[in-house]
Structure formats: C-alpha cells, structure tokens
C-alpha cells in the first residue's frame, strides 16, 4: 500500500523524530501486528497479520502531526496505540508496511480540583492516575477491567466503560475537552467547558473513532469525590432458571430512579467461576454497589432492598463476601502471563464478547445466544454471561466462552471458533434489535457487521470516514471492513 519501500519508512521516521523513537526489532514488530483478539495465535507464536514496518513513539501533538503528514503523503497505513490492551482487533496492522504510532510516552497529567477536571496526555495509565487521585480524595470514576494496562488515549478511542458506569457513566459522559490530530496533520483542540450548544457535539467524532479518523493526543475528564467509606453492597442469589427475573430486577432498580454505581447479574456458570468458594452450582447472582455521600448511598441501598424484598426467589448474600471478592477483580500482568501459560499447555482458550439491548429484548438475546453457542460451536467447554452496565432503558450482556482448539493449526483457530462465535452472537443480537458491541469497540473483529449495525445511518459513518480520512491511512479495516 505504501508508495515507498519498507526499509525507507523506518529511515524517514528516524529523520523526522530521531532514531531513538523508532523501533524495528523483529519481535516487537510481530507483537505490534495484533492485539488480544488473536490471543491464541499470539500465545502460539504465530503472526498471521502483515508485520508493520516500524513502531514510532511520539511525544507531542506536533510530533504526531509530523508523522501523520508523512504517512499521508506516502499512503502508509497508521495504527494509533497507547496501552495495547485492545481486544477486538483494533490494533491489527491489516495492511502491508503499516506504522504503529504509539502515544504511551505522552503520560503527563494536571489535576484541577477547583473545576473537578484532570487533563491527561494520551499515554497516561489509568491505574496510576486513579491511584494518585484517590490519595487526594478524588477519582475519575472510570474503572474498566483493563485498568492496570489501559491508557487514556485508547480508553477514549474505544468508548470504553468502567465497572461503576451505572453511576458515573461511560467515558463519553466523562470527557470534557479533547485534542486530536487528523490524517492531514491538522491539530484540533476542543476546549474545556461544562456544556455548550454551538452545533453538533464534535467531541463525538473523536470519542469512539477507534483510530479510524484521528489520533487522540490529550483528553480532559471530570473528577468526582472519592468516598469509599460510604460504599454499600447488596447481593442475592437466585436459581439459574430465573435469569429472566434477574434482568427484570435490574430493570426495576433503574426505572425506580435509583443510581447504584455497580449493577450486575451473573448467570449460574459465570457466577460459579467467581464465587466457587461458597456458591452452589446452578445459582445466578445479583450484585449492586452504592457509592457517594453517606445519605445517598444509604438511601439507595434501602431502596434496592425494599424492591428486592418482594421477590421470594431471591436469597440474600452476606455483603462482606462481595466486598472481599471485589478487591480481586482486575487483571494485571501476572494474571495475563498465567493465562498465556495455561493456553499454551491446554489449548483451551477463553474469550469475551459484549452486546447491549433494551429491556424488552435483552433476555431473549442472552438465551438464544447461549443456546446456539452450546449447540453449534464445536469443542466448547464453557459458556456464561453477565450484565454489568444498566441504563434506564436497557442493559448489556457480557458473554464469556471457552473452547478447546482441536486438530486445528493456530492460523485457523480464529475462523474455526472465534469468528464463528462472533457471527452467532452478532446475528442473534441484530435479530432482536440490540447492538453488537456495548463497549469493546467494533475493531476489525466486528467491522464485518457494521452495515447491519448501522442500517441507514451507515451513510453518516461512511461520510465521516471519507471526510476525515479521504486517502484511507487511518487504521484501515477498523470500523469499516477492508474490501476483500
């Protein structure tokens, strides 16, 4: 695709930014050609995607602009990256001789406690940021499971969501102003104001663009007070056969006007994997957490308990159990390393796919996906699901599934199993009118379904892409699939 030779790409980038910013080590390039979507290939040391020509580290918006201008002029595909924790193929270098533009060194941030905002370079690691904020009695309120690895740029680019979103919202509710660089080198800054009505909200061209329209260099997000001493936990177990009741309980809490921070429903299989220390098999779990000023969290807790008391199928669970469990939730590098070793030894692999839907369709989506996965996918060893983000008008479902890779070379695993599973999940979700991606992003994995997902509004997405990236150099294959 690039109009200059592969070897010259790294050379020219070195002249632009300095050779200490350009990496051409073979192993680094291989690892930079994919993300956790191709987890099995990666564990088996197989790299099926075109290997990028270079990884280049930019340290300012101006440097990003110079790199993008250069790539634009030479028709080089660019993949923006910060924390490298993406899981839907968004970071795959789908075209030959791509360049991975890494912003992880832009890791400065400034806290503004008066205006309750923090301005972050795209490379600010969320865990480090939130740990520092908590020490000052503040928090971003954003706590995705990838927190130990993720950085701000990627979190905004993928429209990520955290575990407490039911109170704090997703990243889209948290962003104030942004700065991004477009493929033609244009650096655009959107200022920090609480709200405005000056035309369409252009922040949403940037938030969720998954690197297909621009490179995010800076983001300002809101801050909230951090009051963990007021946290309350409420939990019930119920028979797995009552999952429909479970969804209806989630809905009851939301439509009654309560805003817990954490609202979850685990089906029996998923619940067991978390709570095997004390939970029997065949029991689903409902869990809520209330946060905020003491009066508010107490009232929320009392309200939820009152609503749930009307359901005899629910059996209360000791809140201390939930509080202890909660501390063990996030995945750090040690767990990822252990998972990798297990995959290599057992050829059994676990993946997740999340979707969303209105209250009236969500249970049907969950039930029909589960049935189809169990009957149509070969060698499947586990299927479970949970809801983790509720709204007044619906919720998400996060499917977890494991399968043995049997009689299948690593290069073919993705088609034999992973893509088949995704196809089933997307088909069922679209059939009932839900969305095929709640918060992981379309990436390249689900870009194949973009037209069905968008329907007539696909015109708007396509036009954005044509407007901002007319020469097709930004993360090609993401959002809009490549033509075969």
């Amino acid at each position: 695709m690039a109009v200059i030779a592969r070897a010259r790409i790294a050379e020219e980038l070195s002249k632009l930014l300095g050779s200490d910013r350009v990496v051409t080590d073979e192993q680094v390039l291989r690892e930079s050609s994919l993300d956790r979507y191709r987890k099995y290939e990666q564990c088996m040391g197989v790299f099926t995607q075109p290997i990028p020509a270079a990884v280049v580290y930019a340290e300012s918006a101006e440097e990003v602009s110079r790199v993008l201008t250069f790539c634009h002029a030479n028709e080089i595909n660019v993949v923006p990256r910060t924390g490298h924790s993406a899981i839907e193929g968004g970071l795959e270098t789908a075209l030959e001789d791509s360049v991975v533009l890494d912003g992880s060194r832009m890791d400065q941030y400034t806290v503004d406690p008066v205006n309750m905002q923090v301005t972050c370079g795209c490379g600010v690691p969320l865990q480090a940021l939130d740990d520092a904020l908590r020490a000052q009695g503040l928090t971003t309120g954003h706590s995705p499971q990838s927190k130990p690895l993720a950085q701000m740029g990627g979190l905004v680019a993928t429209r990520s969501i955290g575990q407490f979103s039911t109170l704090y919202g997703g990243i889209e509710d948290m962003i104030v102003g942004l700065e991004a660089v477009f493929p033609n080198g244009e650096i655009c800054r959107i200022k920090n104001v609480p709200r405005r009505s000056v035309g369409p909200d252009i922040r949403h061209i940037i938030c969720g663009n998954e690197g297909a329209l621009c490179f995010i260099t800076e983001v300002t997000v809101k801050l909230f007070p951090w009051m963990p001493e007021n946290n309350r936990y409420i939990s019930y177990q119920l028979p797995d056969e009552e999952m429909e009741l479970g969804f209806s309980c989630l809905r009851e809490v939301m439509t009654a006007g309560y805003r817990p921070s954490f609202a979850r429903l685990y089906d029996g299989a998923d619940a067991y994997s978390h709570f095997s220390g004390w939970l029997e098999e065949g029991k689903a779990m409902l869990i809520w957490m209330c946060e905020g000023p003491a009066g508010v969290s107490a009232a929320t807790e009392a309200g939820i308990r009152e609503l749930m008391a009307r359901h005899p199928q629910l059996e209360e669970v000791d809140p201390d159990r939930i509080q202890q469990w909660y501390a063990t939730l996030n995945w750090g590098p040690e767990q990822i390393a252990r998972e990798r070793e297990e995959i290599i030894a057992t050829h059994n692999i676990g993946i997740t796919t999340e979707i969303s839907g209105s209250w009236s369709v969500i249970y049907q989506i969950y039930a029909s996906v589960k049935e189809r996965l169990l009957s149509e996918v070969p060698d499947i060893t586990f299927v479970g699901g949970h809801s983790s983000h509720s709204y007044i008008n619906g919720t998400n479902v996060y499917f977890t599934y494991y399968y043995n890779v049997v009689d299948c070379p690593p290069e073919e695993e993705i088609n034999k199993y992973h893509n088949l599973i995704n196809r089933i999940i997307c088909q069922e979700t679209l059939r009932f009118g839900g969305s095929i991606s709640h918060h992981h992003g379309l990436g390249k994995a689900r870009a194949h379904y973009v037209r069905e997902e968008y329907g007539s509004s696909y015109y708007m997405l396509k036009t954005l892409k044509q407007a901002f990236d007319p020469d097709g150099i930004m993360n090609m294959g993401t959002l809009i699939p490549l033509r075969k």
Partner: protein, 263 residues
C-alpha cells in the same frame, strides 16, 4: 487391568489475595471463603499425568482411573468434571479439608484405598495452600507400600511395574517401581488439567459424585496451630525515574553501579 487412583485437594486460590491482607493477619486462621476454589497445583498435575499415562498405556494394558478427595460439597463440581474427562469413579469423603490434620487425612484416604485396591495412587507432594507435605508419605506407611516423591512423569509397564521419572537431590532419576505404590507429584512442567467439553459434561458429567462417610476415628494430630504472623519483607523500593528503559538503566548505574559492584 490397572487401577489408578488420584487423590486431590480443593483449595482457595491464594494468588488472588491482595497483599495487604497478609500484612494484617491475626488469630489462627485467614478468611478464604470468598476466594474461588481450585485444585491444588501438584494434585492437578497428578490428575493430568494420570490421563496422559492412560492415553499412552500399551494396547494390552487396560487402565481405569478413579479420583478421591476429602472435602465438602464445594468439591462436587471438580468431581463431575473428572467424570466428564473419563474417570470411572469420582469420590468424596465428607469433611472439611482445611480442618483435618495430615494424619487423619491419610487415615481417611487409606480406608478408601483398602476398599478400592488401586495399583497406583497418584497425588501431589504438597498442597498449594501451604500444606504439610506429609499426606502421601503417611498414606504409603499406613498401606505398607513404597512411595516416590517429586515425581515428574510416569509410564505403566506391561509387567505391572511403573517407570517413574522423579527429581532427587542429585538430579533427575528414572526408576522402575513395583505396584501398588504411591507417586507424589512435584514440580512437573506443563501439566495443567485438560478441559472437558460442555457436551461431555452434559453426558458423562451429570453423574453425582460418590459421597463416602468418614471413618472418623479419634484424631491423631501431631501439631496444633497456636498463632500466625506475617513476615516483614520490606525494603527501600527506590524506583528509577526516566521516560525510557534506557534512561532508567542509566540512572540506576549512575546511582548504584559502583556501589553494587556492577561497574
């Protein structure tokens, strides 16, 4: 036909405990109820090695696999999983694995072994919740049979013996051992237990675990826990600053290189 019996312990996944919990301990127990359950690492290796051994047994040698644990109903999903993997029998002696001393555990396991009469008893050397390391040896003594520890792998021989590869003080040795005997598995590389499919679980894994009453004689415990404490391992932990690895390494060598004898 050779009968192989695997003894395993279900333990809490202690790797998930946040560090600060260990620093705040008091009394004689740490609450681990909230942690997910797993099979103790070396016991898991033992079960996987049994399956591999059965997979490659000579054609003229039929093998049957059984599994045994001491514990409460939290063990049942693991036993059903073993049925789904092709174990012929999965048994549980009713009791609390954490509360029973190694002497009593061995006595309970021995009672079942006398009943089942396995040719080979396979288990882990030491449970991953920091166990005593005594059970396999007490079990062997109670049954009056040999025991090989730190086993890495084993193969059945047509003459009824078993060839065992095990780690010793002088290196890794291979011995041929007569059966019945106890094999206590040590640090065997790459031996995670395989996963049964959902279909196998639905067809074979529906059988309930066989629950056996404990023999329950008077306890023969040799030790009683009086108190617990967390060791203090803190050091300065000075983090080298720098935007790149190179800068941090340079900073480290500048500050400590000579003093630490690296330069």
């Amino acid at each position: 036909m050779m009968l192989l019996l695997g003894c395993f312990k279900v333990v809490p996944d202690l790797d998930r405990v946040p560090g600060k919990v260990w620093r705040k301990v008091s009394g004689t127990a740490v609450d681990t109820d909230y942690l997910p359950r797993i099979i103790s690492f070396q016991d898991e290796s033992a079960l996987e090695l049994m399956l591999r051994c059965a997979d490659r047994a000579p054609d003229d040698l039929r093998t049957e696999l059984e599994a045994l644990t001491l514990g409460d109903r939290r063990c049942d999903p693991f036993l059903k999983n073993l049925y789904a993997l092709g174990f012929a029998r999965a048994m549980r002696i009713e009791g609390s694995a954490a509360a029973v001393c190694p002497e009593d555990t061995a006595a309970e396991l021995a009672a079942v072994c006398r009943d089942r009469r396995p040719d080979l008893i396979v288990t882990g050397c030491q449970s991953s919740d920091g166990g005593s390391g005594l059970v396999p040896l007490f079990l062997a003594e109670t049954l009056g049979i040999p025991c090989v520890t730190q086993v890495l792998d084993f193969t059945l021989l047509s003459d009824g013996r078993v060839e065992v590869r095990h780690q010793g003080d002088e290196g890794i040795a291979v011995r041929r051992v007569r059966t019945p005997c106890v094999l206590a598995v040590g640090n065997a590389a790459c031996t995670y237990l395989r996963f049964p499919t959902v279909k196998a679980k639905l067809s074979l894994g529906r059988q309930p675990a066989t629950v056996l009453p404990p023999v329950g004689e008077e306890t023969m415990a040799g030790l009683r826990l009086q108190s617990l404490r967390g060791p203090d391992r803190k050091r300065a932990g000075v983090v080298m600053e720098g935007d790149t690895a190179e800068e941090r390494v340079r900073r480290f060598l500048a500050r400590y290189g000579k003093e630490w004898g690296l330069l």
